[in-house]
């Protein structure tokens, strides 16, 4: 039996839309207002740049978006500001889509656990995101096992166990301070023995500047590969939506260490816009694949560039 991943579309989109509702009320609605005001003059471009930067889109990408827009307005002799707004929208979606195309189609094979390794800096929401990912896969009828690989932070294991109980997924854990490698090894064995479809491995939060801790991630990968050569089939970097420009550095460093396949933006239910997604997509080409939008296990949605950008642009989501 081969199941294609990421086919289910309707429900996650609805969730993403709802999660983004609060976000939308902020800066991006102002972008719409800005264009509705009319004149395509310097003031508009300056204000647009300001709004983009306020959304953590970053200096470079904001410059690029504004300049590209100015150029197209000039070259295509556009006078209608709403048309200009649509061009901006297109450019923003295109920027994210370029990275989304790098997303590989993941195949679930019978008898081979699909291993997901979740990494990120401290406090971004890895553990909660893991519970959400577990619920997400269970929603497809998959059998999920979780490995408590964060043996460093006090009570991280307890936290994961509570989540495991809530979503009904078993958690493989040793005690705090033990070797995460041993847990990963045990979890891989257990996943095989129990015929698990999806194994999600938690890792301790680590700043990307701590080289020895980054090396540890590489080691965990090697341990996984001893049992399943293609593991981890998905390596997800969790980035906090409130993160500023350092998010790009984080993504780069983690990608260098463990080949990040997907990014999950957590905590998008606040007023933060997660604009760092644009820089990550543009500079590194790593696809943003998921967004976390709340504190419930079901608050996870697949990321779609148009939904994301549209939700931020319009009062009512389009295309749902």
């Amino acid at each position: 039996m081969i199941l294609k991943f990421f086919r289910r579309k309707t429900q996650p989109d609805v969730q993403m839309e709802q999660g983004l509702e609060k976000t939308r009320r902020g800066v991006f609605l102002e972008i719409t207002r800005l264009f509705e005001r009319g004149a395509l003059d310097d003031d508009l471009y300056e204000e647009l740049e300001m709004l983009l930067i306020q959304a953590d889109v970053g200096w470079d990408v904001s410059q690029k978006l504004v300049k590209d827009l100015q150029r197209r307005v000039r070259e295509e002799r556009i006078e209608d500001s709403l048309l200009a707004r649509d061009i901006l929208r297109e450019e923003m979606i295109a920027l994210l889509e370029t990275a989304s195309r790098n997303r590989t189609v993941k195949i679930l094979q019978r008898g081979v656990p699909f291993v997901i390794m979740v990494v990120g800096v401290n406090g971004v929401g890895k553990t909660t995101s893991i519970a959400k990912l577990a619920a997400y896969h269970q929603g497809f009828g998959r059998n999920v096992l979780i490995a408590a690989g964060d043996t460093f932070r006090a009570a991280a294991i307890d936290q994961l166990k509570v989540w495991g109980e809530r979503v009904g997924a078993p958690v493989i854990a040793h005690e705090q301070g033990s070797d995460p490698g041993a847990i990963v090894f045990d979890a891989m064995q257990a996943a095989h023995a129990r015929g698990v479809d999806v194994l999600i491995v938690d890792t301790a939060g680590r700043l990307h500047t701590k080289h020895n801790l980054m090396a540890e991630l590489t080691k965990l990968r090697r341990i996984m590969q001893k049992t399943v050569p293609e593991a981890p089939q998905e390596t997800i970097l969790v980035i906090d939506a409130t993160t500023g420009q350092n998010g790009l550095v984080q993504a780069k460093e983690f990608a260098d260490a463990v080949a990040i396949s997907d990014i999950l933006i957590a905590k998008l239910d606040g007023t933060a816009k997660g604009g760092i997604a644009f820089s990550v997509a543009k500079e590194l080409g790593i696809p943003i694949s998921y967004v976390g939008t709340g504190e419930k296990a079901t608050d996870l949605a697949e990321f779609r560039p148009d939904t994301y950008v549209d939700s931020l642009f319009f009062g009512e989501g389009e295309g749902f």
């Binding site: 306020q54 929401g125 936290q159 990307h208 500047t209 500023g244 420009q245 550095v249 984080q250 606040g270």
Partner: protein, 446 residues
């Protein structure tokens, strides 16, 4: 990842320098670079704008146009202005009107409240106090266990009532508990919350009104982006913050959020969290943070790391050896290992101010693998060879290359470089004797 401001300003002014005199437009270009540096450090847009206006005013007054080193002048002004906004150094915690001192930690999820509650406890105990930690986060799974585990680790009692009670009552009961047992200060760890979560924000207000904390410390992640201002403003308006703890500063975030928070709310920065260990809490230094926000490198942190890796005696010993020309490959290996302890070479290089273009060059050439190669080569030598590298002839070179898995050329290159280094050191030794020791060596290696 980002070019430093020093770099960009040098580029800007170099470009201008060629055409002769600087104009006002040139100063504008420089201001644009200052603004960019601030935005890349996550300083809030509006704060950056006001800040640049202040720098511009002073730059015009100080006649940057006629300065021989305009880039340095601009950076100097920006740096001074930053320090001014960032505020007084090392403000300690407020003393209560009447004991006990009650510290309440608030902030977003994942900012580091629980860890910093424990760090504060350790910090205050060092001052001879008898703190108690209060677990008032009843929402996040296992948050109470986390605080308990930390308390156990550092040997500080934790007051908790599990997760079934209301945090306001828990805080009030904790006060009674502390009173009975003579604990002071009382450090309350609250649940992380979004500033737009009305119900949970009200809960903080209720705790505040019930226990009247001496300090309400907002805990903020150094990596926070533009949102920092909204978060800080809302927490400050609703609950009232008396101080800021900036966490995760051991990473490479520039920490511009702190400037925004300070500028918008006026809340003083009290502590900086610099690591996962529970003693990694430092008083705030405005000059260090200013340098970091401007991307000027962080020579002080570099020196600190060097000091951690070595003792003063070792350093003096080494200096003696170097100057007498007795520095051998064994010493070299030892130094290499010490540098390694300080962190990855790229990170160390970034801390050195003003390296700019050379830095990028060096970064492209040096990697941590080079350490390993050099180490392997030296390890493949006999002790005698390490002390007297001149005995290494062709056959020994071949043996060392084989033993270390490198090439003959690589071994030769290392020996040649070492020889040059030794020659330089003896020269310096002679100069030192004559009292001509060149000043301004950036720091004592090792």
């Amino acid at each position: 990842m980002f070019e430093t401001l020093t770099d960009r300003l040098n580029e800007t002014f170099a470009r201008l320098g060629r055409k002769g005199r600087l104009t006002e437009q040139d100063v504008e270009d420089a201001m644009r670079e200052v603004r960019r540096a601030l935005l890349e450090a996550d300083v809030n847009f509006k704060v950056a704008k006001d800040f640049v206006a202040a720098v511009r005013e002073r730059a015009v007054g100080q006649d940057v146009l006629h300065s021989l080193t305009p880039a340095q002048t601009v950076i100097g002004i920006a740096n001074e202005e930053l320090i001014k906004v960032l505020g007084e150094e090392g403000q300690g915690l407020r003393a209560p009107d009447r004991p006990p001192q009650i510290l309440m930690l608030v902030g977003l999820q994942g900012s580091g409240k629980t860890t910093h509650a424990a760090k504060l406890a350790v910090h205050l105990r060092k001052q001879g106090r008898n703190p108690v930690l209060v677990a008032a986060d009843v929402y996040r799974p296992a948050a109470v266990n986390q605080l308990q585990a930390l308390g156990k680790q550092i040997g500080i009692p934790v007051y908790e009532e599990g997760t079934g009670r209301n945090p306001v009552d828990i805080a009030a009961n904790a006060l009674r508990f502390a009173n009975e047992r003579g604990h002071n200060p009382i450090i309350i760890d609250t649940a992380g919350r979004l500033q737009i979560d009305d119900r949970l924000m009200q809960e903080l207000v209720d705790i505040r009104d019930r226990v009247h904390p001496t300090e309400i410390l907002l805990v903020a992640d150094a990596m926070t982006g533009q949102e920092a201002v909204n978060v800080a403003q809302t927490f400050n308006e609703r609950v009232g913050a008396s101080g800021l703890i900036l966490t995760k500063m051991d990473g490479d975030a520039r920490g511009g959020a702190a400037l925004s928070i300070r500028a918008v709310t006026g809340v003083p920065i009290k502590f900086i969290g610099t690591g996962e260990k529970l003693d990694a809490l430092e008083p705030f230094h405005a000059n260090r943070l200013a340098g970091r926000i401007l991307g000027m490198g962080d020579i002080l942190s570099l020196i600190e790391r060097a000091q951690e890796a070595t003792t003063e005696e070792d350093a003096l010993d080494l200096q003696e050896k170097m100057l007498k020309g007795q520095f051998n490959l064994e010493d070299f290996l030892e130094q290499l290992q010490k540098i390694k302890q300080m962190g990855p070479i790229n990170q160390l290089l970034e801390m050195i101010p003003g390296l700019g273009a050379q830095l990028r060059q060096a970064k492209a050439e040096i990697s941590d693998d080079d350490y390993k190669r050099v180490e392997a080569i030296i390890h493949s030598m006999t002790p005698d060879e390490r002390r007297n590298p001149e005995v290494i002839g062709r056959r020994r070179t071949a043996r060392i290359a084989k033993g270390s898995g490198t090439s003959i050329q690589e071994v030769k290159q290392l020996l040649k470089q070492f020889e040059e280094m030794q020659r330089m050191m003896t020269q310096m030794g002679r100069m030192a004797k004559k009292g001509k020791m060149p000043k301004g060596l950036p720091f004592n290696l090792g």
